[in-house]
């Protein structure tokens, strides 16, 4: 880094973010309203988020949270699905919905002049979604087809196997966020009605509005539409059992002779989004494998070795502790695995250099505002901040938190969060286990 940039960074003026027009308000019934005023285009996006996601899918009924969110705007006590669709599509309003493990959401994007219509539809759906049978069947069929198609991708095969071996059969992270192909056919409209009743109420939801609005005026409209949405009991969050991760290197090879390349995933237990060293671990893993070119893994596997187009690693960022994962797709998995293991060990033992730390800090602080310059980016970052309790100031707080991290913080994260001697490796491809050069490995049967 140039001396001038270093000096500016040290003075704390390089990555200063001007105060953002982001506000957090609460209605009396507990509904949190986050507003991000942005008048760059005459449009408004609104996202209603339930703090319940796929982790709270009932046993054997994965996909319930996702289907609930996706069907929220498909019929209410006052309008049929057809009427809602007619209104939405005639006015050029776009809809989107989905679920992660920790939250689920339904959103509308509209031209400003139809803000009231869109907000009314969303409020009505939140309070009185009816989940008609025909819409349920349509959406379930679509979700099931997508889930089946996912299994055509070798990545899905290898990732699902890795998750099941790492977390165990009963852990929610073993299930697909959108629902497993085994569970989806058994779901019924009553499943989503029950999930809606238990998880979509003002104390368990927040509303994000981004776009050409004035906060005060908007709050009045929100209050009139959501203010008498009855509060409900707190959502019970069942304790999720931990999982055992045996020491040593374990591996599984799944032979697919028809493939021209192997897909590799390797890793071990990671951390939770609430862990205090989360950001240090993120920066450290960024140095290790945040990019297929500009990282230690990228340099070794792609640039020097020419072994793969993509190689990277990351820590899951979820409420429950997730995984640390490194992935690569290559015709030479033995050499790629050898290089990745070497780099993980090197990072574990020595941590990043001062320069690597500086680069990671600059990248995270500098590129963060770029990520929320779009409407979808604003929705994504505000959802993350509110769902995990970082608060609306997070967008401005983040650069400061990152700026305070030192090389020693990243090295400590490498020492405690990377475990080169305790690793799970899953490979799918045109190979057999003896071609992987893993002599120190306990093999798991296919």
């Amino acid at each position: 880094m140039k001396p001038l940039l270093t000096l500016l960074a040290a003075c704390g003026i390089l990555f200063a973010v001007p105060s953002l027009p982001v506000y957090r308000d609460s209605l009396e019934n507990g509904l949190v309203v986050l507003t991000y005023e942005d008048h760059s285009v005459p449009a408004v996006s609104m996202r209603l988020v339930s703090r319940s996601g796929a982790t709270l899918d009932p046993g054997g009924r994965s996909g319930t949270a996702n289907l609930t969110a996706r069907l929220l705007l498909d019929g209410t006590a006052f309008r049929s699905a057809e009427e809602i669709t007619e209104t939405i599509e005639f006015l050029g309003i776009r809809r989107n919905a989905g679920s992660g493990y920790d939250f689920s959401y339904s959103e509308l994007m509209t031209l400003s002049e139809y803000l009231d219509t869109a907000l009314t539809l969303l409020a009505e759906a939140a309070r009185s979604a009816s989940f008609p049978e025909s819409e349920f069947e349509r959406e379930r069929a679509l979700t099931l087809t997508r889930a089946r198609r996912d299994w055509d991708r070798p990545n899905t095969v290898v990732e699902a196997d890795f998750d099941r071996l790492l977390f165990g059969d009963q852990h929610p992270y073993t299930r697909d966020e959108c629902g497993d192909t085994a569970d989806l056919p058994g779901l019924t409209p009553d499943d989503v009605r029950s999930f809606h009743a238990a998880h979509w109420h003002p104390g368990n939801c927040f509303l994000i509005i981004v776009g050409a609005v004035e906060r005060e005026d908007l709050l009045g409209r929100v209050r009139s539409l959501f203010g008498d949405w009855p509060a409900s009991a707190r959502v019970e969050r069942p304790t999720v059992p931990g999982f055992d991760f045996p020491p040593g290197i374990r591996a599984r090879a799944i032979t697919r002779p028809e493939m021209s390349q192997s897909y590799v995933i390797m890793g071990h237990p990671g951390l939770s989004v609430f862990d205090t060293d989360l950001q240090a671990a993120r920066l450290m893993s960024f140095v290790l494998g945040g990019s297929a070119i500009a990282s230690r893994l990228g340099e070794s596997v792609r640039v020097e070795g020419g072994l793969a187009y993509d190689v990277r690693c990351w820590f899951d960022r979820l409420a429950l502790p997730g995984a640390f994962r490194a992935t690569v797709q290559t015709a030479d998995p033995a050499e790629a695995i050898r290089r990745i293991r070497y780099e993980i060990r090197r990072m574990h033992e020595s941590g990043p250099t001062e320069r690597e730390t500086e680069t990671a800090r600059n990248y995270f602080t500098g590129s963060f505002p770029l990520g929320y310059s779009s409407t979808s980016g604003k929705l994504r970052e505000l959802t993350f901040a509110e769902a995990y309790g970082f608060g609306p100031g997070w967008l401005e707080e983040f650069p400061r938190v990152i700026g305070e991290l030192t090389r020693e913080d990243l090295a400590a994260a490498a020492r405690t969060r990377l475990c080169p001697d305790d690793m799970l490796i899953v490979v799918v491809g045109p190979l057999t286990r003896d071609r992987l050069g893993l002599d120190d490995t306990a093999w798991l049967e296919e």
Binding site: V41, G92, R94, L111, S134, L142, E258, N362, T365
Partner: protein, 441 residues
């Protein structure tokens, strides 16, 4: 408010706040060396996106050299006097920016996004990329392996394989038949000197557009652009135009891809005009939306809601510079549904050709297309991308502004004429992804 009035209001709103605003915020000029420069001011965020696009992509490649534009894209990140060997991305990261490159049929594009206080670095990097990249065997040989691995990624994904085989079937002579990444044998046979020659031929100011969008002052940008690009030498580039090369299609074509899959997929394409036929192109866009944009679209109603033969339907125009394909992508419930799906598609297309489309249906479709245009302009990076793509595909970024007006003029006569002239059985190509057949006994 009733339909027509509401639509008029919508269009008024968009014209007032969208299109006029875009044109007023643009400074457009050309340097003496032929570099087209377009500056778009958007001060809503302290961010600047810089795009440099070249008119070269898989369309321009001769037989035996397919994918060489994409290989060149990989190589122009490797080495130049402006960044350390393989250090391009790291330099951008150090300055808190983001960057990438992409290759398509018609263009090769590069971009950086930086905070507004340091975006000049993008000009320095892109100027070096334009004229000073260094090609060495020690970089080239491993990078060719990287591209081979990228090709294998597609080869192992059944739906990507379907797309590749589909376009190779739909076109016989037009280079749109070739995958952007190239055919695997061609990739293996690239030489460093051939890639370098390709770079020297196509990468120069006279074949490029520079778009700077974001929190900038045009007068300052002009000074900086002159400083970094003013001294580069422009030179003529070969003229490549295959607009009329494709032989007339004289009958429906069909291709099957049988791979391990648990969800069949169906692609149906019909010939459609390129962008030089402005009425035909926009009629195709509106027709596509009538058939398959949204849950009220005709094919969604018939295939997903009424007959339940499919779980999803999407229809869109792919044609860009040359005549291309109006694409239908349908997810059948199962392999057995496919003949019935094709019958429904044929019926609905015949209906389009024979019966006028009601005004309210057209109005809904046009409103959706217009709203999408507004949503797409919510950040400077996206606008920069759109401006550059209009330059690359139509030779004039102002087409970006004219699109809405042309869409608005498409009525039922244009849709019916398009359906009659282009959506004909003999202009159809069908591609199906299916599970492997039972092994022979």
């Amino acid at each position: 408010m009733k339909g027509p009035k509401r639509a008029a209001l919508l269009l008024l709103c968009v014209q007032a706040l969208g299109w006029a605003g875009i044109a007023e915020r643009i400074t457009d000029y050309e340097l003496a060396n032929g570099l087209r420069v377009i500056i778009y001011v958007d001060s809503s965020a302290p961010v600047v996106a810089t795009h440099v696009w070249y008119r070269v992509g898989s369309y321009y490649e001769p037989v035996g050299r397919t994918g060489i534009s994409h290989m060149t894209e990989h190589m122009v990140f490797k080495r130049s006097p402006a960044w350390p060997p393989d250090g391009f991305s790291q330099l951008v990261q150090e300055h808190g920016g983001q960057s990438n490159g992409f290759t398509s049929t018609w263009y090769s594009g590069y971009f950086e996004v930086f905070a507004a206080d340091r975006w000049e670095l993008a000009l320095k990097l892109e100027a070096a990329r334009m004229h000073a990249c260094i090609f060495l065997d020690e970089d080239f040989i491993p990078e060719r392996e990287v591209v081979s691995e990228e090709w294998r990624l597609s080869d192992n994904q059944p739906t990507r394989r379907l797309w590749t085989d589909f376009f190779a079937t739909a076109f016989q002579a037009n280079p749109q038949r070739n995958p952007t990444i190239g055919w695997s044998d061609d990739i293996r046979n690239y030489t460093r000197s051939a890639v370098e020659e390709w770079y020297r031929t196509w990468y120069n100011p006279a074949n490029a557009v520079l778009v700077i969008a974001g929190d900038v002052r045009p007068d300052k940008v002009r000074t900086l652009v002159a400083k970094h690009f003013g001294r580069l030498r422009g030179k003529p580039v070969p003229k490549v135009d295959f607009y009329d090369i494709e032989p007339d299609q004289r009958g429906a074509r069909r291709v099957e891809v049988r791979m391990r899959t648990s969800a069949p997929a169906l692609l149906i394409g019909y010939r459609m005009p390129g962008r030089r036929d402005t009425v035909g192109y926009n009629a195709a866009a509106v027709t596509a939306a009538v058939l398959g944009d949204g849950r009220l679209s005709r094919l969604h109603r018939r295939l997903v809601v009424e007959t339940r033969l499919a779980t999803s339907v999407n229809v869109w125009p792919t044609a860009q510079r040359d005549p291309g394909l109006l694409m239908l992508m349908i997810t059948p419930n199962n392999e057995e549904s496919i003949p019935a799906i094709e019958r429904v598609v044929t019926e609905e297309i015949a209906r389009l050709a024979e019966e006028p489309v009601e005004e309210r249906e057209l109005e809904r479709v046009r409103n959706g297309l217009v709203a999408n245009e507004v949503f797409a302009r919510d950040n400077a990076g996206r606008v920069a991308y759109l401006i550059a793509s209009y330059w690359a595909l139509t030779d004039d970024w102002r087409e970006f502004d004219r699109e809405l007006e042309r869409t608005r003029r498409i009525g039922t006569d244009e849709v019916m004429a398009f359906a009659r002239d282009w959506l004909r059985p003999e202009f159809q190509t069908v591609g199906a992804l299916l599970p492997p057949q039972t092994e022979a006994r």
